[in-house]
Chain length 236, copies 2
């Protein structure tokens, strides 16, 4: 594999990052080509993992009964969580379409197996959470690969992991990390839905970058990049 | 932004995924161009996040004293964790180069702020861990963007988060998620170091994909993709 990236290859990565969306509303019923799905899964499987432990599994789900039970869990959890927010935000929250469990042709549950490759994994003994962090990196690979293939992905986190574990028959020690809905889409929205709905705004990069220590927003050794970031260049 | 990806753009994403490495040994002292670093950070900032909460911060670190303290923490934790593994694996473990804290020109600590945008974040009340999962997705965006720019990244997880919190002056509620070393590299290794060293093997995709429920390795509704995945196609 040629080491250097052409401008177009580099652009492909950035385009995937900036045009990736959390899809809930725009799924079509067109099925996903098996070759495409296997490429997407293989991309996920090539994520970084602590100590090369590859602690993930991907459960592919089409079965209607399974999805219906998970959709029911979504409804229960959405109702429950709506009690946590006051009007008028509550009604706005309840008006959002937040999942595509039954609208998308394929669901994928990505899980974490803390027992993979035995008790000693390099890099995991000081910070055991790095195992689950590896699984999240796999989810992001999957999401970006799907985007380049024209496949939308929606991550549904309004559901009960206990229900997921029961319905998918996960053993006690297995952690469900992500429940994803995959499918072709009518469109990828130009911006995140919650930004368009003015629920929350995109933060500026300058507000999340610190220099040398927490909350240091300026430092004489970082002047040039500080100016660049303040300019808030739109790379998208 | 044009919706469809050209073959070369798509290839760019897959190439980044397959040639990305966790770099420890090949850093050069060449400094990273500020424009390049700002593109990499902006890519991270455009990761998905639960409820669009963008709960990350990026602390850029060059200061020698800071890095020396973190390197000391690495040494302490490496010695401690080596007690957990028997010979001959212990000696092999101790022979690995596992960090580039002082060899790389820039370190980045990526943190999670659970208080970002207040107590109610859409999608976070049923599974609060999704906040930290968002930060991991940002790390993976950073890693892939860096790869396309020819910048190596190494994630150091053999260290104490307590030391990190103290040295970087993180408030109590802020969680350090990833400590990354960034720099130009002599080369990107053709395979992960721990695979080359025969510490662990790459699993086959067919062994991590299940159908409909946990551990179901075959299902009549998934025959075609099952055959494709069994063929273990090398997309890299």
């Amino acid at each position: 594999m040629n080491d250097k990236f052409s401008d177009e290859e580099k652009n492909g990565l950035y385009k995937a990052i900036y045009s990736r969306r959390d899809v809930r509303s725009h799924f079509t019923s067109t099925s996903i080509d098996d070759e495409v799905l296997s490429r997407i899964l293989n991309a996920a499987h090539h994520a970084p993992s602590v100590g090369f432990s590859q602690p993930w599994n991907f459960i592919l789900i089409k079965d209607y009964e399974t999805r219906k039970k998970i959709k029911d869990s979504f409804e229960t959890e959405r109702k429950r969580s709506s009690q946590l927010v006051e009007e008028p935000r509550k009604s706005k929250y309840l008006s959002f379409k937040l999942e595509g469990i039954l609208d998308s042709p394929i669901n994928v549950c990505v899980t974490y197996d803390p027992s993979r490759f035995g008790p000693f994994v390099i890099g995991k003994s000081s910070i055991p959470e790095t195992g689950i962090y590896s699984v999240c990196c796999a989810v992001q690979n999957l999401w970006l690969a799907a985007r380049t293939e024209g496949i939308g992905v929606g991550w549904v986190s309004i559901l009960s992991n206990d229900v997921l574990k029961e319905v998918l028959e996960l053993p006690e020690h297995i952690v469900p990390v992500a429940y994803l809905c995959l499918g072709h889409v009518e469109e990828f929205a130009p911006r995140p839905d919650l930004e368009t709905a003015k629920w929350l705004s995109r933060l500026e990069l300058k507000d999340v970058v610190y220099y040398e220590k927490w909350e240091r927003k300026q430092n004489s050794n970082w002047n040039k990049i500080h100016e660049l970031i303040k300019a808030n260049l739109d790379y998208a």
